[in-house]
Amino acid sequence: MTTVAVKPATMAQALTRALRDAMAADPAVHVMGEDVGTLGGVFRVTDGLAKEFGEDRCTDTPLAEAGILGTAVGMAMYGLRPVVEMQFDAFAYPAFEQLISHVSRMRNRTRGRMPLPITIRVPYGGGIGGVEHHSDSSEAYYMATPGLHVVTPATVADAYGLLRAAIASDDPVVFLEPKRLYWSKDSWNPEEPVPVEPIGRAVVRRSGRSATLITYGPSVPVCMEAAEAARAEGWDLEVVDLRSLVPFDDETVCASVRRTGRAVVVHESGSFGGPGGEIAARVTERCFHYLEAPVLRVAGFDVPYPPPMLERHHLPGVDRILDAVGRLQWEAES
């Protein structure tokens, strides 16, 4: 067996590599968006692609999100596989008309004759000190729209594997990139990228017996840290990284909750009408008899995303998670 050097890489580098490999493997793959060409994207995720594949395959578009996604629909109709970049979470909103009225339902309204293999990359979430409109977590809007896949990596390897899977998917995929993890490093072997995972599988990042933290994207490292800290208090926490919000992996999640009997859902977006409510309901429906406590949610507050100087009070951190874990003992007390 040959050992390959495993080097640290950033999530942004893995995403770039995934785009490059996808473009090399399939001439139908086209990357487009604002500043993705010469500049390589404001986060440099598309760095070098225009040089390598030409401006027809990695295109600086006019500044118009509805136009970017709308033209991607037509390109996909004609057999291309567009990968579009929405520069920041809140700047994808002008494209929602196209996303909701067309991208998500073209397969359905044409009885399967016109599928749209479009990947929509959206840097999302807070924690980078961004000014207004640069830190939204919009996943609930995407999740509420039937016809879209919604995935979000938390590790460097998943960034690669999931993006390849998204581009290969024959359905539209909203690919949420946790921007505060862009520069996080992992040991990753770029020569032999992990086998491309099919979309829709959660993974147990850390096993434990006392309770399950169900989370995704930028909150995964926070939950891992909370799980370490909880050891001091005698809690052995399991952390499930969803990776895919749609489709949802009930199997992995419920297997974990049945083992531990307790669960907390953790995410940055607001809790009211947010992803956690759906997840808690699904877990309760399937695991009611195994649950020792209600499924709790630790989320961002239900406020417009705050200015950078206040965001640390908004984002769910280790303490807030540990506090919820403490509340999971409610049955013993009542």
């Binding site: 604002e34 500043d35 060409g37 010469t38 500049l39 390589g40 404001v42 600086d60 006019p62 500044l63 118009a64 999100e65 509805a66 136009g67 809140a90 700047f91 909103y93 002008p94 000190g129 961004g130 000014v131 207004e132 409109h133 640069h134 009211f272 507050f301 239900d302 406020v303 417009p304 705050p306 200015p307 950078p308 100087m309 206040l310 009070h313 908004h314 303490d319 807030r320 506090d323």
Partner: protein, 383 residues
């Protein structure tokens, strides 16, 4: 009769004569951007106005430099500079009457300050302690708008509402060249023209939308040409010529005030600094291009004119510099203080009456902060 025979007998009636709804010719911009400084028109320019413009440009340049320096000290999260674009920023603020409204984009802090908003409050968004620091009604300045072109329909709606009420109000809305590609730009211009709303659209064409040059943004002969398609006049002006920008915008504002409807003004200028302090401009443009624009600097253009006409001497220049320096010192002094932040503000102003969920969440945060204060009694700063 067979069908073929019928066809042979068929004589199509010509369509009724087509008339354009509006004669496009007067709407078309001039072939060359309008200039005043260094031309014969300059002789007619009001000396007092030129002096005011000069003092404000010098102050604006200093403001840009100071704000950029504050990003390096971590006092601002980000600053999109308008160095080189001061003529547009200042003219936009100066042509408006007190009752008029300004709708700035995120880049237009300088116009906001020139309109009278407190410099520190104008920077609140970029410092990051609140999204909008000033009261929009105090100086009739809408919040600095980050999503591109979305403020334009707001300007149209406000101007329209004012006219419906019989008020003498004009709205001036600012947008970049890139922003003209957004759907909201189209919708705003169309509404404004159909409603004959008293609005002036000022496009600061500074060459780039972050890294994307104008050639990749539009195939139109000029952005001002777009006006014709909506049925409003388009004007092209040298955006570094403060006197010209002031004149063209004044004309447009007068036209709107008189019930003549909207105008689209394209000011040709250049973004000398990078997109923001976080941008690396060397990736998409060379120094040579920047240098040619430095030679067409708005302050120098005006300085030359004023000097040639004997309206400005060394003492005058020094006075402008001193005033600018005093403003910068004041700004530094204020910005170097940590803003007083109350984490409870997270829940302020989400609704007129907080929802029960927000009350609960507010209590949760209060408890957390109290617990944290007990374990760390010395307390931390909020930075």
């Amino acid at each position: 009769m067979t069908v073929m025979e019928q066809r042979g007998a068929y004589r199509p009636t010509p369509p009724p004569a087509w008339q354009p709804r509006t004669d496009p010719a007067p709407l078309l911009p001039d072939a060359e951007p309008y200039r005043v400084l260094g031309t014969e028109a300059a002789a007619k320019a009001d000396p007092e106005l030129l002096r005011t413009l000069y003092a404000q440009l010098v102050r604006g340049r200093r403001y840009n430099a100071q704000a950029t320096a504050l990003t390096k000290q971590g006092r601002l999260a980000v600053y999109p500079s308008t160095t080189g674009q001061e003529a547009c920023e200042i003219a936009a603020a100066l042509v408006l009457k007190e009752q008029d409204w300004l709708f700035p984009s995120y880049r237009d802090t300088l116009a906001v300050v020139a309109r009278g908003v407190d410099p520190v409050e104008a920077l609140t968004l970029l410092r990051g302690d609140w999204h909008t620091g000033y009261d929009p009604y105090e100086h009739r300045v809408a919040p600095l708008c980050t999503p591109l072109a979305t403020q334009l329909p707001h300007a149209v709606g406000l101007a329209h509402a004012a006219r419906l009420k019989g008020d003498d109000v004009v709205a001036l809305a600012m947008v970049g060249d890139g922003g003209t590609s957004e759907g909201d730009f189209h919708e705003a211009l169309n509404f404004a023209a159909v409603w004959q709303a008293p609005v002036v659209f000022l496009v600061q064409n500074n060459g780039f939308a972050i890294s994307v040059p104008l050639a990749k943004q539009t195939a139109a002969p000029s952005l001002a040409h777009k006006a014709v398609g909506y049925g409003m006049p388009g004007r092209l002006v040298d955006g570094n010529d403060a006197a010209a920008v002031h004149e063209v915008l004044s004309d447009a504002v007068r036209h709107a005030r008189a019930g003549g409807g909207p105008t689209l003004v394209e000011a040709i200028t250049y973004r000398v600094d990078a997109h923001t302090n976080a941008d690396d401009a060397t990736r998409y443009r060379g120094d040579a291009e920047v240098e040619t624009w430095r030679e067409h600097d708005p302050i120098q253009l005006l300085e030359r004119e004023l000097t040639a006409r004997g309206l400005l001497d060394e003492a005058g220049k020094q006075a402008a510099r001193d005033a600018a320096e005093a403003m910068a010192a004041d700004l530094r002094a204020h910005m170097n203080k940590d803003p007083a932040l109350d984490p409870m503000d997270l829940f302020a102003h989400v609704y007129a009456e907080p929802t029960t969920q927000l009350r609960d969440q507010r209590e949760q945060l209060r408890a957390e902060l109290e617990a944290a204060a007990e374990t760390a009694p010395e307390g931390g700063t909020h930075r």
